[in-house]
């Protein structure tokens, strides 16, 4: 019993944050964003450490299981969350707003997404998905802006609809197989023929996860809300659920529903191509910075999904390399967005950053490095991912996909260079506020990883291959 409780410690630490935040919020007179951040930081660090220590222990093996694969994603998710909470703290201090609810919802979101990653039962998955959706909804409500209301309604409607579809699908599997456990579903379809209703139930599981991943054509709510939500929420809801959804989708498609391959491969391919083109074309004309990077997110996920096809070892590794490089790069970009503010207001429009180079040359150059990396230019980090994905596509003889991805890449390069032009070549329109030291610290750490990744990519890639072994054939 005690062993089980100890094995549960990563989740326990995260849960512990909630009463602590509530207690401090209720009884402590001098509480700032820093107070809540400190609570979240300590518990999140303990959670990360215990996740690593108990990387192969499973408290409830029939519901939740841990291995190197889940640990990799969970640690990635937790570290990134920690970074976002770190930067958000300053945002709340600047705005002089209460952050208790943000941190409580944020840490709960991390918990629910961690549960989704570890889930080996569809009921836990749907539970995690439901919790994550509700928490994201409440996070979005932290914005007082009335413009946000329409987006919230859309988000609520679609999330609820997809949740219902997911529940119905699970009921179908439960009724047909007698269990919602991953292993039993996989074993059942290894022996039995797939029927039409099975496909529909499978789609019912897949669609909500794709919605959470935020790729085309399931991206509408995310893009709509990303331009309207407050910056900490935008960053949190754009990055964190993606990690979990990606981990889940790869696991489900390779381990649980591998027999559905003939059905899902063309579907994933269409979704990937759609995301690539949609993301790239929409980004060209976009004027809102956050929405721009949301489109960039859609484009990148399209590339990642294209690279993972046909879900073989090569595909899994190459898309993971791209995914990690993308996360590191986009995280760097969001850090810079936290640095761009004028008269205490965080900037939203591309025109607001006109001529920023003249006042903030180092940060502008760093943003340029991240943008050039996103464009897949050598020898930047995403180039490694691009190279691996292209290599995988070549191996599979997917020449049509290569042409489409290169066309999308050219469109995206055009969009990226538009930002560089605005930052470097146009006249300054706003005076930018002083940049906090914490942003420089984060950027420095990020650049360090960036440099190591560029100079010695083998160091990361070899480790990734080892950690991804549980889903490798």
């Amino acid at each position: 019993m005690l062993a089980k409780i100890i094995t549960f410690s990563p989740e326990i630490f995260l849960v512990l944050a909630l009463p602590l935040i509530a207690f401090v919020n209720q009884y402590r007179s001098s509480k700032t964003a820093k107070t809540f951040y400190s609570i979240v930081k300590v518990l999140l660090i303990f959670s990360i450490l215990s996740t690593i220590i108990f990387y192969n222990r499973s408290p409830l093996p029939h519901l939740l299981q841990n291995d190197t694969y889940t640990t990799l994603y969970k640690v990635l998710l937790d570290i990134l969350s920690l970074g976002i909470f770190f930067l958000s703290c300053k945002w709340f201090l600047n705005k002089n707003r209460s952050s208790a609810l943000y941190y409580a919802l944020g840490i709960s979101l991390v918990l629910s997404l961690n549960l989704m990653i570890s889930a080996v039962d569809l009921r836990i998955l749907v539970g995690g998905y439901f919790a994550a959706t509700i928490l994201q909804y409440f996070l979005l409500k932290l914005n007082d802006d009335d413009d946000c209301k329409v987006g919230e309604i859309h988000y609520r409607a679609f999330s609820f609809l997809l949740f219902l579809i997911m529940v119905l699908s699970i009921i179908w599997f439960q009724e047909k197989i007698g269990s919602a456990e991953y292993s039993k579903i996989a074993a059942y379809y290894a022996k039995h023929k797939i029927q039409m209703l099975d496909v529909m139930a499978f789609a019912g599981i897949l669609l909500p996860i794709l919605f959470m991943l935020g790729i085309a054509p399931f991206h509408f709510c995310r893009v709509e809300l990303s331009g309207l939500s407050i910056l900490p929420v935008h960053v949190l809801s754009n990055l964190i659920p993606t990690i979990s959804a990606y981990a889940v989708i790869v696991y489900l498609l390779t381990e649980v529903f591998s027999k559905f391959k003939e059905i899902y491969l063309p579907f994933i391919e269409i979704v990937a191509i759609l995301s690539l083109l949609w993301g790239a074309i929409s980004a060209i004309k976009e004027e809102n910075i956050r929405r721009f990077f949301s489109y960039c997110h859609i484009y990148s996920l399209g590339f990642i999904l294209l690279g993972i096809l046909p879900f073989n070892n090569n595909g899994i590794t190459s898309s993971f390399v791209y995914f990690t490089a993308y996360l590191l790069t986009i995280w760097g970009i969001y850090m810079v967005l936290f640095a761009f503010k004028s008269n205490g207001e965080y900037l939203q429009e591309l025109t607001d950053i006109s001529g920023v180079f003249s006042q903030k040359p180092y940060i502008s150059v760093l943003l340029m490095v991240f943008i050039v990396s996103l464009a897949g230019s050598p020898p930047m980090l995403i180039f490694l991912g691009k190279l691996q994905v292209m290599d995988n596509l070549m191996i599979n003889g997917a020449y049509g996909e290569i042409i489409i991805s290169m066309v999308a890449l050219l469109l995206m390069i055009n969009a990226f260079f538009r930002i560089i032009r605005i930052m470097f070549f146009e006249a300054k329109v706003k005076n930018f506020d002083h940049t906090e030291r914490r942003i420089y610290i984060c950027l420095f750490i990020n650049m360090l990883f960036f440099l190591v990744g560029i100079l010695n990519p083998a160091l990361f890639i070899e480790q990734f291959e080892l950690l991804l072994k549980p889903i490798m054939r």
């Binding site: 020898p379 292209m390 290569i402 032009r421 083998a458």
Partner: protein
Amino acid sequence: MMLNTFSILSLIIAIPFLGMLFTLFAKEASDGSTRNVFSVAVFSVIANIVMILRIFMLMEVYKPGLQLVETYNWMQNPNIDIVFGVDVLSLMLLLAIHIAFIIGFIGVRNNLEHQKSLMVWSLLFLSMITGFFVSADIFSFYIFFEGMLLPLFMLLGMFGDVKRQEYINRFLLYNMVGSVIFFVATVLLFNYQHGMLELQQLSSMKLDSRLEYFIWAAIFISLLSRIPIWPFHYWIASVNSSIRNPMIFLISMILPLTGIYGFVRFLPKTLPAILGNYILLLQIIGVITMLFIALIGLINKDRQYKIFSYITVYYIMYMLGILTRDEVILLNIAFSFFSYLIIVASMEVFSHYIAKEQMQQGVLDDGLLCSYPKISIIYSFMTLAAVGLPLSSLFLNNFLILSDLLAVNIKMGMIMLLALVIVSSALLKELFRLRDAEKCSISAEKGEDISRGVFIFMLFICFILLMSFIKPLWFVVGA
């Protein structure tokens, strides 16, 4: 994993890069002087020149093939080795580029606007182009091929005129399309070979006909996108007619060299049959472009355009020379390029100086050189060397290149010769106009000539050019 203990070739890529970092963090004086930034940048280039000269000492200059090869395992899955190596051609080009950079830096030494940015991006470009010339495998070749675009893009954007939006778009369109196509070809070749591919192996690779057709088309398009040949000349022409900064003009003029050099590295010694049609088409387009640009240069009143037309005509001549795959021509091109780059850099820097003085004095530039005796000496020397007088290695080596091209195809050779005569007369006409004492409208006392230090340095450059005429590798002991 590093397989070599001492990596001199990596060092010559690293030095300008480190120089760039030092320049980035160099403090500018409170009075706005950019002396620190300038000194750090020049020191980095000089340090690299010393290293290049050391490499000349370490290698056997007339031995064929790449020497001082360095190999690094960059990635294991897919297995990618980064290989560096040099031969006399790449080293001569590198040395000339570095000297041209020093001349370019001298040309912008008094520039106060964005001086730091200018030096930083220029050094990054230098680092990338150095990497490009020492690349011996297809991946590093591609990495540096694309890597040098960003610094040039930044320079064009930061120092361009009102029309910059227009030519930046063209620059991006042509070069990015070229790079993307080249990337696909690189991955395709890598996949076909099932592993690492050194540039030397490329010539002996046996490809199936469809793949061969695509690979060569991709390589040709991507390399030609850098060369000012129709229909790819559009972006370079618009850049050069608008840029009034000698350093950026110089860098954008060095970029086509990467396309030309790409042909040297990629084309096999015996051209595959599939390339026959490509080459013929390229020769026809090449000579027409040469003649056309030469005529425009003759008519156009803008001195910068005349220099641009001279550069273009020579680039195309070198490209057509390389397509013959004759080892002797290649060596002559290497020696000729050495002088050509230095001459072009000097002419551009002094042409810009003259234009600036003309603006300050508010006079026409006819006979202007009469009031600037030091500039007059250097500019006249460079123009005479440029048109092919026995003042540099251009004289003998161009003669040999042309005679070989005439032997290959007499019609093509004759048109080329005509184009060369036209651009030479355009330059000479311009020199006579600038030296026309009767039209000189300002007195010698009013004109501010170049400083004694710069004059002595330029005399030293003239000495280098003269020595290259006597013996191209005069600075290498025992060559």
